[in-house]
């Protein structure tokens, strides 16, 4: 033991037993101290600041030796009150908030929210086809970037470093596309009620195709590293088991549900944004374990690439079509464009409202400050995000602001299965099981 006392790593007696605080680097002294006691049962508080817990997730583990007897999750460390905030903003501003919930899948939050607003407005059928295709394109690219983080960090947490390097390299390629199309790499607020913020820039289709080819080649690197790798399989097979009955009672969707063999994918079962017009497969495995979920994510990458390619074909045919609903009382008036100093307001639009047309200025001002009214009522709209069903429950009282926005977040719901997956397993397997749920704390806590 070191001679000086660390004020942050002292042990003390409580009514629950002796409490030890460890700060890292002092594990040896801790295990010596615990080993000297008669206590068999140890409660370990893991997180909320722990590199393996996938963000600010706190896990409370009750251990007997290395076996986990009880697991509970503590969440709420990233609660930002986004749902409440949207009640004080216009319907269009809401996009800027919801995109920050599940920050690895921003396009899915935006799309789900916009589909719900459009359903309330009753304009679902009036959304231009080009806008829907761009949404699909962006969603599938986003699925790739999200799955890359899931695979990369999942592997990293189990001690495999190289897959993370490759995964983030691939993700970077996708983020570059996002930057080219929307001006932003994350939290784009690109999908808007009525369509998308702006058309994809001229000449981006060849660039997307190039990236798709590059990604298809790069994915093989991770595949070679992990699929069939003995160490990886020993760490993931038969770990975090959750069967179909467990999934339905816990409301689990996404790759975890599909790993039980049920091909439930909202893109196929309840299509939106025209997904019924794309050719792709729903990937399932029947092992219901971490390895199965890993395989599903790996193979979904290829399916997403297929959809992206088809979306590119469609976009070429729809060149020059509108990307925003025709109703000027809903469509956001200003457009963005790329200038000498990067993405910004369209200079044409600024010239029009500031120098040419008073009516355009009035219209712009009214729509931007006041926004549009949405008829009273409520809807529930769900999309298949990388983690499962992202559902939006939207209530309008007929005003210019949402009355209630609720996100049914797949991460929030799926994290409940931690206890079912981990109790009775070894402590090292808890990490793998949670990584296979792929919770994003921004979505869990909102």
């Amino acid at each position: 033991m070191s001679t000086h006392t660390d004020p942050y790593a002292q042990s003390r007696e409580t009514t629950e037993g002796r409490v030890y605080a460890v700060t890292g680097g002092d594990w040896d002294s801790l295990s010596t101290e615990i080993g000297a006691t008669k206590e068999e049962r140890v409660v370990v508080n893991m997180g909320p600041q722990h590199p393996s817990t996938h963000g600010v997730l706190r896990i409370i583990l009750e251990l007997e030796g290395e076996t986990v007897t009880e697991v509970r999750c503590g969440i709420g460390y990233l609660h930002t009150g986004i749902e409440k905030n949207t009640e004080y903003r216009s319907w269009t501003q809401g996009v800027t908030f919801v995109t920050r919930m599940d920050y690895l899948a921003p396009i899915f939050n935006e799309t789900a929210y916009c589909l719900a607003v459009e359903k309330l407005l009753g304009i679902t059928d009036e959304i231009p086809e080009r806008a829907s295709v761009i949404r699909v394109l962006m969603m599938e690219l986003n699925r790739i970037s999200s799955h890359m983080v899931a695979l990369g960090t999942g592997a990293l947490e189990l001690g495999a470093l190289s897959p993370m390097i490759f995964a983030f390299r691939e993700r970077e390629l996708v983020l570059d596309l996002f930057e080219m199309i929307s001006g932003l790499r994350m939290n784009m607020a690109y999908v808007r009620p009525g369509g998308v913020a702006q058309d994809i820039p001229h000449g981006s289709i060849p660039k997307i195709r190039e990236t798709v080819a590059q990604l298809r080649k790069n994915f093989k690197d991770n595949e070679k590293l992990l699929v069939g790798n003995t160490i990886w399989m020993k760490r993931t097979q038969n770990i975090g088991y959750l069967d179909l009955a467990g999934c339905t009672t816990l409301g689990i969707t996404g790759p975890v549900l599909r790993s039980t063999g049920l091909p439930w994918d909202l893109r196929k079962t309840q299509p939106y944004c025209g997904y019924e017009n794309y050719d792709f497969d729903v990937i399932t495995t029947d092992s219901a374990d971490v390895y199965g979920r890993f395989l599903i994510r790996m193979q979904e990458l290829e399916q997403s690439l297929r959809i992206v390619e088809q979306a590119c074909d469609k976009l070429e045919k729809l060149e020059g079509q509108p990307v925003m609903v025709a109703d000027k009382k809903i469509a956001w008036p200003s457009q963005l464009s790329v200038g000498a100093d990067g993405m910004g307001n369209s200079l044409d639009h600024i010239r029009e409202i500031m120098g040419e047309s008073m009516e355009s200025l009035i219209h712009h001002f009214k729509l931007v400050t006041e926004g549009f009214r949405v008829p009273a009522g409520q809807v529930y709209v769900a999309v298949e995000s990388p983690r499962g069903e992202t559902g939006v429950h939207l209530v309008s009282d007929g005003g210019t602001r949402p009355y209630r926005v609720h996100f049914r977040e797949p991460s929030f719901n799926n994290l409940q299965s931690t206890s079912a997956m981990c109790e009775g397993s070894m402590i090292a397997d808890v990490i793998g099981a949670i990584a296979s749920i792929d919770p994003v704390m921004g979505g869990v806590d909102r």
Binding site: Y380, G391, R401, R408
Partner: protein, 212 residues
């Protein structure tokens, strides 16, 4: 149905917009008549057959924007939920969650709990809505019917103060344990401070002039 005057959020002499004389009547969805269309009639019929007290338990059925909402009385919520899950022709084996909506102006029905149900077998969705008074915000917990509703009920309790009787551990989930109040109620302030930038001050969002 409620009434709203004026266009801006300011009342009295603060409104200089000239829109103070505007009167808007807000309509809420009324009860729908049969036929509901789609699979909604089938769901209603099957539930009625499986649940004899149907007319007593269901306050109204609303079909709006191609979605079915059953307004259930809280005394019958648990039984209705069980029937919806177990009856073969219904089979709503998944509950996607519950969330609250606060309507302070609805006397005796201030707090609403809204359940989103999904049937994998029949590929259908319906919604249950239950209203409880603010003075007695109790609902039966449905954790025994759908285990996955556990955290959703905790969140609804945390944010709206609806108490789910029979919940295995109804504690706050997103807010700290010692938090006062339920943040997503309409009477709970949003908070925020004025922000100054280059001499101009922007008030917090809840205090800005608003267009309703």
């Amino acid at each position: 149905m409620s009434q709203e005057n004026g266009s801006f959020g300011v009342s009295g002499t603060g409104d200089t917009s000239g829109y103070g004389g505007l009167v808007r009547i807000k309509h809420s969805a009324g009860s729908s008549e049969r036929p509901f269309g789609g699979y909604f009639d089938e769901v209603a019929d099957d539930l009625e057959r499986a649940f004899p007290e149907f007319n007593d338990a269901i306050e109204k059925i609303v079909v709006d924007r191609n979605e079915l909402t059953l307004y259930v009385k809280r005394e019958h919520l648990f039984e209705v939920a069980k029937k919806l899950r177990d009856t073969e022709s219904l089979r709503f084996e998944m509950c996607m969650g519950v969330d609250g909506v606060h309507y302070p102006e609805e006397d005796g029905r201030e707090l609403h709990a809204v359940y989103a149900l999904l049937s994998l077998t029949h590929n259908r969705r319906i919604r249950l809505e239950v209203a409880v008074p603010d003075s007695d915000p109790h609902l039966p917990s449905l954790v025994e019917v759908w285990g996955g509703i556990n955290w959703h009920e905790r969140e609804t309790f945390d944010m709206f103060g609806i108490i789910f009787d029979g919940h295995p551990g109804l504690t706050r989930i997103l807010m700290p344990d010692d938090w006062q109040g339920h943040p997503q109620r309409k009477d709970y302030p949003l908070g925020g401070i004025p922000v100054e930038y280059k001499g101009a001050t922007t008030p917090p969002p809840s205090e800005r002039r608003s267009y309703r």
